[in-house]
Amino acid sequence: MKTEFSSFDEILAILPELPDKLFVIQETLIANLIMLSEIPSPTFEEEARIKLLLQRMVECGLVNVSSDEAGNGVGIITGKESDRNILLVAHADTVYNQKTDHNLSVLTDEIVGPGVADNSLGMAVLATLPNILDALGIKLNSNLVLLSSTKGLGRGNLDGLRFFMDNNKLPLEAGICVEGEKLGRLSYTAEGMFRGLISCRIPEVLDWQRAGQNSAIIALNDVINRILEIPLPRRPRTTVVLGAVRGGKSYNVMATHSSLRFEVRSQDSDMVKKIHNRIDEIVADVASMHNAEIDFEVVSSREPGGIDVGHPLVKSCRQIMETLKVQPTIRPSMSEVSELISRGLPSVTLGITEASNLHDLNETIRIKPIYTGLAQLIAVLLAIDGGFCNEPE
């Protein structure tokens, strides 16, 4: 296969044959996926999974394989030019705790198991990338910095990636965030966002004369109703998602605790701040009305931003997807790419395959589209490496 390219069109020309050529790494990729995915890796407890990834990187002969103070795992595939670096990121944490049965089932055309799509497959792609490049005979000009980041989800608030970016000394040219799902995903913008936890507590000793009039659930219900009354503009597009409500013990026991997890997103960071302030006021008001203790905590937040739809990196990604007959699904991201973009690094998130039952115990990925997803990733790497994704001076 051709491995040197003087134009972007030459890269597009090899694309139709690329998925079939990638089939040779099937066993290596799936074995990596199984081994990584079967190690529990809840946020803040990613150490064992990162350790295995680093072992695999060492076995592949990567240099600078190490883990940093935040627990991130990093390895570098060296290129022909030592001063150019492309960052590939796959988050190592999952939403499943240590007690979950992490075993995968490998069927004819599917792989099933918790976290297999989000994001064990992304991590397995990083672990297998050296084998993939070897199999295709590709030696890039740039170094590929493979980063599996920790503390990404929920309260992790992308802390692992932030630590890496704060302390990284390598000049980075572009970033690609690799997610297991879904093929065609293309994220290059981030919305402003915060995720909040409202916890409501009513004193244990209650006046039973007032039973039914007061409880942590009633107080929280009041908070929810007041949040839903906040006017949301269509432009800048702004949304409030009420994600999870918990509270109470049984049919006839007055609830003393309740909580709400929610997310506020907007294209405008001022709007995010305004809603934050409004919720602060609501919480204080409802607390005084119900004689309850109500805490409002911001668990994680992101600044809005992005690269332009006309950026050569975005255009290249779209053309590559179209050549592979993949319909691009463009959506703003709250994940790793938002952090990279906010630091001025041109970056995108790409998905590798089709998936279903996301975040359920029977999370499922389809095997066949993986090769198209990998072909897309290789083509984007070649395009960046060839200098075809740089903005005109």
């Binding site: 099937q26 290596t28 074995a31 199984i34 076995e59 089932s105 490998v106 069927l107 004819t108 055309d109």
Partner: protein
Amino acid sequence: MNLNNWIKNNTTHHSQFWDLKKLVEEKEKQNLKISLCLPTLNEEKTIGKEIVMFKSELVDRYPLLDEIAVIDSGSTDKTREIAETFGADVYLSAEILPQYGEKKGKGENLWKAVYELTGDIIVYVDADIKNIHPRFAYGLVAPLIYRPEVHYVKAFYDRPLAFSQGVRPSGGGRVTEILTRPLFSLFFPDLTGLIQPLSGEYAVRREVLEKIPFPIGYGVETSHLIDVYEKWGLEAIAQVDLDQRVHRNQETRDLGKMAFGILRAFLYRAEALGVIGKLPELSTLLRQFQVEDETFEQVCFEIVEEERPPMIEIPEYREKFNIN
């Protein structure tokens, strides 16, 4: 041989064989060929994973295995299709040596594997392991590669997640502790040193496999141990700790069937070796009970422990492997 010495010398942990590069070099030096046999019956949930793992790690990355074969008893699920998809050689047990008929049982598949597979060493791994890892094959093969005097290596699984005191009980499953170990203690005390004599994972040299008979049912593991012990001595047997093994749990009722089959196979072996006197004709019916509307009713299962002769007695085998 002193049993404590045997346990000390012939019991290892798979982590001793972590250096796969060295293991493959040693295998190549000896010009050995190694076959992996996965006997299956409706294992669609786990078979794909086992094949992918062994192929990636022990064929592509470290070429320890020369052949990965699934010998299937006629699965009605997608076991064979999945196995083929991931590149294993798939055989239907009934189609191997068909002139000798078809018998139902795992032992039948193991016996036919001796004919069909070409390795100097065959490693058998059950296909229902959920937490499959390359150690399940290299851990068993390694003692055969490094120690020519060892002919038969058995797996055991012993790695408690937490234990606070210095001494803890160790052993096998329910059938081992209630049936097999008491029987071995009575008639073959040396064999009590095997922590899990019934485990379905073992690696054996061809020159041993071709010379021992194969009960086709539950008794195959017990009979093999007795036969290898009688013919080659305890020093030919080794055991390897493979840590944890996660698999389906069996109902007590099914364990009853298993115990029945093992007991029949054991008694026939003991009789043939003169360890016990002449036995009356043994029934093939296991009688269990169930209750329906306060009425107890008997449920009978016919469990026949037929036996395949040593493969070396089969003319087709002698021809295939050029044995005069």
